[in-house]
C-alpha cells in the first residue's frame, strides 16, 4: 500500500515536473508570468505565493489592529461607553486570533515561501501545488472567522466567539452560539493550511538544497523555519483534535470537557496549551532565524555563533513541548507538577540567552550602520529581551498566583509577540523589500516609522504592566477608578501606534511605485545566495542549482 502511495506521489510529481519544464521553456521565450488575476489564483511559483502570503498577513494585521482600537476606545475611560461586555469579548478574541493566525504566521510563511528556495539554491518549494492550496485556504478561513461577527449586526446569530484566543473558557465554549462553531471550523482550516506549509518546508529544506549546501551550511532563517515546521507538525494535530472534541461535545453528545457529565474542563486547557505554548515559539522562531542575518549584514561581520544558535533553536523546540502547564499554574495542579513546570519553563531562558548573546556577539565591535532594518532588528532585541525577562519571572508559582489573568500577562505577551514577532517581521520586510520589489524604500520615512513604533508601543504597554501589577484583571470591559490614568495613557498610545502603522503602507506603496532601483546586492554587507540574484529576482531562479562551497 505504502509503495502504491509512493508511486502515485512520484507520478504526480513527474507530471508536475513536466509541466514545470514546459513552463520553464515558455518562460525562457517570454520571461513573464501569466497576466491578470489568473496569475495569482493559479500560481505555483514560490515568489508569487510568498507575496500573496505576506499581503494577506499585512491586510489581517490592519483588521486585527482595527478590532483592538475599538477595545482600547472602550478602555479609554472607566465605565462602559461604547461596547457591551459581549461585544468587548468578541473584539479582543478576534484581535488575538487574527494577529496570531492571520497576521504573524502567514507573514512569516510568506517570507519562507519567498526566501527559502532562494537561500538554499532550489528552483521552487518541493510541493508547489500544495503550496497554492495552502495559501488559498487562508482567505476562506478568515471569512469563516469574521462572518458571525458581522452577521450579528443583521440580527443573525449571537456574534463571534468571545472565549479568548485559546478558547478554554469552558463556560463560554459550551454556551456561546454559532461563533464558536465557526471558530472551530476556522481552526481546522488554518491547521490544514499550516500543516501543508510545514510539510512543504521540511521536504524543501531536507531534500532540495543546492549541491554543497550541507545542513550546517544552511542559513539560520532556513534552520529556524525547519524547526518551526517540525513544531507545527507536532502541535497542530493536538489543537485540531481538541477543537474536534469541542465540536463533538457541543453537537454530538460526547462529554470530553463537560464536567456536569463526567468530563474534564481542565483537559481542554491541557490540550490547548500543549499546542499553545509551542505556538508562541512557532510565532517567534522565524524572527529569531532572520535577525542574525540582519545584524550580521549591518555590522559587516559574519553570523556569530552559528552552531550555538542552531542547537539553541532545537533546545527551545524540545523545551517548548514540555512546559505547557505554566499557563495553568492556578488551575489546581498538584504541587509536584507546579514545581516541575516552573523549573522546566525557567530552563528555556538558557537556550534563549544563548541566542541573545549570539545576537549581541554579532554586533560587538562591528562596523555598524543604522539603516531601517537594523533599527528594527535592534528594537527586536531590546523589546523581545523585555518580553523574555518578564517571562522568566511569571512561571514562578508564587508570582504567577499574583499575576495570573492580570494585565501583567497582557503586557508581557505583547512585548514577546509584538516586540519579538512584529518587530522581527518589520525588520525582515525592510531588509528584503528591495529584493522583492527591485526598488529601495524611503530610508528617512522608514526610520520615522521605527521611532514612532518604538515610542507608541512602549506608551501602550508599559502602563499595562503597572496596571497589572496593581491588580487590574484582563478580559473585562471595565476597571476600577484607580487604573484610569494608566488605561488612558495606554489607549492613547494604542491609537497612535495603530495610526503610525499606516506610514508603513505608504512606505511600501511609495517603494513599489517610485523607489530608486535596487542593486542585486542591496545592502553593502549582505551575504547569502538570494543576494547573488538581481533585484527583483527573475520569475524562475536556480533552474540550474548553484554549487555551494
Amino acid at each position: 500500500m505504502a509503495r502504491f502511495i509512493i508511486r502515485c506521489g512520484i507520478f504526480a510529481m513527474t507530471v508536475k515536473g513536466e509541466h514545470m519544464a514546459e513552463a520553464t521553456t515558455a518562460a525562457t521565450h517570454e520571461q513573464r508570468p501569466p497576466a491578470g488575476i489568473m496569475r495569482w489564483l493559479t500560481t505555483t511559483n514560490h515568489k508569487d505565493l510568498g507575496i500573496l502570503y505576506m499581503s494577506f498577513g499585512g491586510i489581517m494585521f490592519f483588521i486585527g489592529g482595527a478590532f483592538i482600537m475599538a477595545v482600547r476606545a472602550e478602555l479609554l475611560l472607566p465605565g462602559l461607553q461604547l461596547l457591551s461586555p459581549e461585544m468587548y469579548n468578541q473584539l479582543f478574541t478576534l484581535h488575538a486570533l487574527i494577529m496570531v493566525f492571520g497576521a504573524i504566521m502567514p507573514f512569516a510563511t510568506g517570507l519562507n515561501n519567498y526566501l527559502i528556495p532562494l537561500m538554499i539554491g532550489a528552483p521552487d518549494m518541493a510541493l508547489p501545488r500544495v503550496n497554492n492550496w495552502g495559501f488559498w485556504i487562508l482567505p476562506f478561513a478568515a471569512v469563516l472567522l469574521l462572518v458571525p461577527f458581522f452577521l450579528q449586526f443583521f440580527g443573525i446569530g449571537s456574534g463571534a466567539t468571545g472565549a479568548g484566543w485559546v478558547m478554554h473558557n469552558t463556560s463560554l465554549d459550551l454556551q456561546s452560539g454559532i461563533g464558536m462553531d465557526f471558530a472551530i471550523f476556522t481552526i481546522h482550516l488554518l491547521g490544514l493550511s499550516s500543516l501543508t506549509g510545514a510539510i512543504n518546508v521540511v521536504v524543501t529544506a531536507l531534500n532540495m538544497r543546492a549541491p554543497g549546501m550541507t545542513l550546517m551550511k544552511m542559513p539560520l532563517f532556513v534552520w529556524a523555519w525547519l524547526i518551526t515546521a517540525f513544531m507545527l507538525i507536532l502541535a497542530i494535530p493536538v489543537f485540531s483534535a481538541a477543537a474536534t472534541m469541542l465540536l463533538t461535545d457541543r453537537h454530538f453528545g460526547t462529554h470530553f470537557f463537560d464536567a456536569a457529565n463526567g468530563g474534564d474542563p481542565i483537559l481542554l486547557q491541557h490540550l490547548i496549551w500543549f499546542f499553545g505554548h509551542p505556538e508562541v515559539y512557532i510565532v517567534l522562531l522565524p524572527a529569531w532565524g532572520l535577525i542574525p542575518h540582519i545584524l550580521a549584514t549591518f555590522s559587516r561581520k559574519p553570523v556569530y555563533g552559528y552552531r550555538a544558535q542552531v542547537y539553541a533553536l532545537w533546545a527551545i523546540c524540545f523545551l517548548s513541548f514540555i512546559v505547557w502547564a505554566h499557563h495553568m499554574l492556578t488551575s489546581g495542579l498538584p504541587l509536584a507538577a507546579e514545581v516541575y513546570f516552573m523549573y522546566s519553563t525557567m530552563a528555556i531562558s538558557i537556550p534563549t540567552s544563548v541566542l541573545v548573546f549570539c545576537w549581541l556577539g554579532a554586533i560587538w565591535r562591528g562596523a555598524m550602520t543604522f539603516e531601517t532594518p537594523m533599527l528594527f532588528a535592534l528594537g527586536f532585541v531590546a523589546h523581545f529581551g523585555m518580553g523574555a525577562l518578564t517571562g522568566l519571572i511569571l512561571p514562578d508559582v508564587a508570582v504567577n498566583a499574583q499575576h495570573h489573568n492580570s494585565y501583567v500577562i497582557v503586557s508581557h505577551f505583547h512585548y514577546t509577540f509584538f516586540g519579538g514577532g512584529i518587530f522581527g517581521m518589520m525588520a525582515a520586510l525592510y531588509y528584503w523589500l528591495p529584493k522583492f520589489t527591485g526598488r529601495m524604500f524611503d530610508e528617512k520615512l522608514g526610520r520615522l516609522h521605527f521611532w514612532l513604533t518604538v515610542a507608541f508601543f512602549n506608551i501602550t504597554f508599559i502602563p499595562q504592566w503597572f496596571a497589572g501589577l496593581g491588580g487590574m484583571p484582563r478580559h473585562i470591559a471595565d476597571y476600577a477608578l484607580k487604573f484610569s490614568a494608566m488605561n488612558f495613557i495606554s489607549s492613547v498610545g494604542a491609537f497612535l501606534l495603530g495610526l503610525s502603522q499606516l506610514l508603513l503602507v505608504y512606505i511600501v506603496v511609495k517603494c513599489v511605485r517610485s523607489g530608486p532601483r535596487a542593486t542585486g546586492q542591496v545592502w553593502e554587507g549582505a551575504q547569502g545566495l538570494e543576494f547573488t540574484l538581481p533585484s527583483p529576482p527573475p520569475y524562475h531562479t536556480f533552474e540550474t542549482p548553484p554549487v555551494v562551497k
Binding site: A2, I6, A198, V202, I233, P237
Partner: protein, 43 residues
Amino acid sequence: MMMGETRKQKRRTAWLVVALVLLVAIIYAATFIKLPVWLPALK
C-alpha cells in the same frame, strides 16, 4: 542534475511527505483517543 538523481530526489520527497502526513494523523488520533485518559494523571 542527472536523470537518476532527479528520480531519487522525487522518491525521497514522496517518502518524506507520506511519513509526515502519517505522523500528523497518528498525533491527531492519539490526542483524540488516548490523551483524555493520560492527562488527568496530572490532576
